[in-house]
Symmetry: C2
Subunit: 473 residues, 2 copies
């Protein structure tokens, strides 16, 4: 790899850049920065961690790293599912946890200016307090950082209406591998003033630059919403309803799917129940918006009717905040529910297909799960065509074998998604867990361009090495 060694002298330089207390070299403390939600088996120990407090410190760290060619892996909340924040080549983890301030809510330009370590939910709350909506809503909203959302172009539960994180980020201050600072975009929504590095950086998983400040779009306060839960005896029928719901012209904010297994294990974990669990093969959780009570009522009645006519045997309308919370609680805890059943439940599946291909994709998932002999639960932003099958480790398989087995299983599914006109990730990213299948599925010409882009930003390959399509040598 040709990287420099992180000597005691270099560590001292780093420590004086960020302050002694913010530089970690103790092995026990390093352990916390060695893996993310992909699991320990995909982890790797860093040699040091630095926790800068501001842009200048980030810049200083990168200047030092650049001088000695030390790998630097930026890290947000560590809530990623593909090892994106894992320091594969060792070196330094640059944790953005202390850069966690909401700097400004700018009401006239309808933007918030935030540091990358702000928890997404805190931004949502701060925006709401000023009468706005921050429309990013990854399901990990309680833990994930806005910086990580930008790095993975995170999606979540409101993409149908508002789009992924790329759309919400209007400007950024970023630090390059060299330590230089760039300012991209700004407090505005149109920009055709040179190549859009900002839009390229969204979803680049920390391999091109480190965002140290983000200017994010705020939406006007949304209308009222109602949540519906539709119970289906048959997944094929459920899926047919989805295209009709999305195509109804009503204001659909979310359209989520949970299958029988997922609901079973998650309600057991939570000690709760969804209606009609005995009879239901799958649930649609749909959020409808309206500006007025009449519009809202017309909206959810139309959607409810579509579901009933499409084969749902019941549609429940949440009549209170408590009802809504109960429905969403199962959805939001789906991964935890599966992990309560089996701690090795694998969360990295993130298939993306056109809406029209969802029925066929679900059939293939079922078939392939059978062939691979894995039990799965499915949770899905189905209105986007984005499916998260969560497989459980077969009994008796070792965790090590399971890690690679699960990823081979996902690779098989990804190949199917691609053959149906889709891609291998809608919102989780590639990290290093999905590297092999990504590399196999992109053409040499596209890979070569991506490598050229990487070289333009980071000629020494020190930023988050070994991720996406850059295999560690």
């Amino acid at each position: 790899m040709g990287y420099g060694s992180l000597t005691k002298e270099i560590f001292e330089e780093l420590a004086s850049a960020v302050g002694r207390a913010a530089a970690i070299i103790d092995a026990d403390a390093l352990e916390n920065y060695a893996y993310d939600q992909a699991g320990r088996v995909w982890g790797h120990m860093p040699e040091a961690v630095v926790r800068p407090r501001n842009t200048e410190q980030v810049s200083s760290v990168m200047k030092i790293a650049s001088k000695y060619r030390i790998p630097v892996t930026p890290r947000g909340a560590g809530s990623g599912l593909n090892g994106g924040a894992v320091p594969l080549a060792g070196g330094v983890v640059l944790s953005l946890e202390r850069m966690n301030k909401i700097l400004e809510i700018d009401k006239i330009n309808r933007v918030a200016v935030v540091e990358p370590g702000v928890v997404t939910n805190d931004l949502c709350r701060a925006a709401a307090a000023e009468g706005f909506l921050y429309a990013g809503y990854p399901m990990s909203t309680e833990t994930s950082f806005i910086g990580g959302n930008f790095a993975t172009n995170a999606g979540g539960g409101k993409v149908i209406r508002y789009g992924s994180t790329r759309r919400h980020v209007l400007g950024a201050e970023v630090v390059l591998a060299s330590g230089e600072i760039l300012h991209l975009g700004g407090r505005f929504r149109k920009d055709t003033w040179g190549y859009s590095l900002l839009n390229l950086l969204a979803g680049s998983e920390g391999t091109l630059a480190i965002a140290t400040k983000l200017i994010v779009n705020l939406e006007p306060k949304p209308g009222k919403v109602v949540n519906l839960l539709a119970c289906y005896p048959d997944v094929e029928k459920l899926v047919e309803s989805v295209a009709k719901v999305i195509g109804s012209g009503r204001r659909i904010i979310s359209c989520e799917f949970m299958d029988r297994n997922l609901v079973k294990y998650t309600t057991e974990y939570l000690g709760c129940a969804l209606p009609e669990q005995e009879r239901s093969e799958g649930y649609l959780l749909i959020q409808v918006e309206g500006d007025t009570d009449e519009q809202l009522e017309e909206g959810y009645e139309t959607v409810g009717k579509i579901c009933l006519e499409g084969g749902a045997f019941e549609v429940f309308v949440a009549e209170s905040r408590t009802d809504s919370a109960a429905m969403w609680n199962v959805r939001q805890n789906g991964l935890e529910g599966m992990r309560a059943r089996d701690p090795y439940a694998c969360a990295s599946g993130d298939l993306m297909v056109p809406l029209s291909a969802v029925p066929e994709m679900l059939r293939r998932i079922k078939r392939i799960s059978g062939e691979w002999n894995v039990e799965i639960g499915i949770i899905s932003h189905i209105g986007d065509g984005n499916l998260h099958p969560i497989p459980l480790k077969p009994e008796g398989m070792t965790p090590e074998r399971w890690a690679s087995y699960a990823e081979e299983f996902f690779s098989a599914l990804i190949n199917e998604a691609i053959s149906l006109g889709g891609v291998g990730s809608g919102e989780h990213g590639v990290g290093h867990v999905k590297q092999k299948v990504l590399t196999e599925n992109k053409t040499p010409a596209e890979l070569e361009i991506m490598r050229g882009i990487k070289k333009a930003f980071d000629p020494q390959n020190i930023l988050n090495p070994g991720k996406m399509f850059f295999k560690l040598q």
Copy 2:
């Protein structure tokens, strides 16, 4: 520059790739491809024009160009305002005019699949016929091609509600400088499967690749709209209303500004009149949407009230399609109106500032116009902070002198926009007309990255050379 000469033999190769009738070498015919709406003074003659009919022919042309290192300038409708389609280095113009088919309206996935030479308005009409909205709405919608809209990330009159063209393009088939074909994105709305070349290509002005097919988003059919025309005795007061209108939470589709001069010359040109022209220093043209009559009424009444309280002496609500058309007719013909007054009226100004900085930017435009002794009319997507001052050539100045004078004038304005947190273009792009000021205003680090990106796509620099930040040597 080191380019190859376009010999008779190479022309024959090109002609056999696209068909003899689609290869032009006659000087009179070439003339039509030598300039765009920036004007003849910014033009340059091509040595040949090819008009491929499909992707394979585009690929063949690029393979030939690549083999002999012949410059290729892709061209849409030629409606650009900064010389983006001008073959600065000679060589070949690749016109996409014959690739003009709407291939599919896919109702389930809510996308249209189109060739790049489709006139944007034709796409809008075809989508409407199927009950959808294509939300791109550049003011040149009657002439511009969807491929050119993608190349410049075109904006227009509905960006407040729907965003610029980048947001509408979900997938593309593109031909690289080498002739290789890539498929990017698809019939879906989430994608974090490698660097987003698609989002990078939007706004790259044909310097990185040639889009030969686009998959564009269709929105559900919008609600009803009403157009309002608010007349102000004072531009400062008008601008104060804008932030309030935008911040009202009502569904604003458009918020456009026209100043006294622009309205004067345009109504003279059209032989029509707007109300209160004698007393008005400026007009706001606002489009409000609502799902129901009640919502619509509440919306436009609220907006009307904001304008009246903000100093408008009259607000006219269009009561018929004819009323609305009359208002928009002036807005859409603003450039033609200024050019009827002076054929050298210069349309390339496209300042972008945060909404909060619009009042100060307008003051500076006024001051600087005085200092430079140019009469201007202003037309503006003011709700976006996007301003188009259109200067008239001072009497007695030669057209040649005026071309550079006007651009120096715009450079002075762009520097002010940047100092107010803005950029030099919101929707027109850079072309070669704005090259100098762009290059002066970007940092060396950002320019170097952009050049590295260019190199990754087009190592021989044959695609649209001399544009954006690539000066012809």
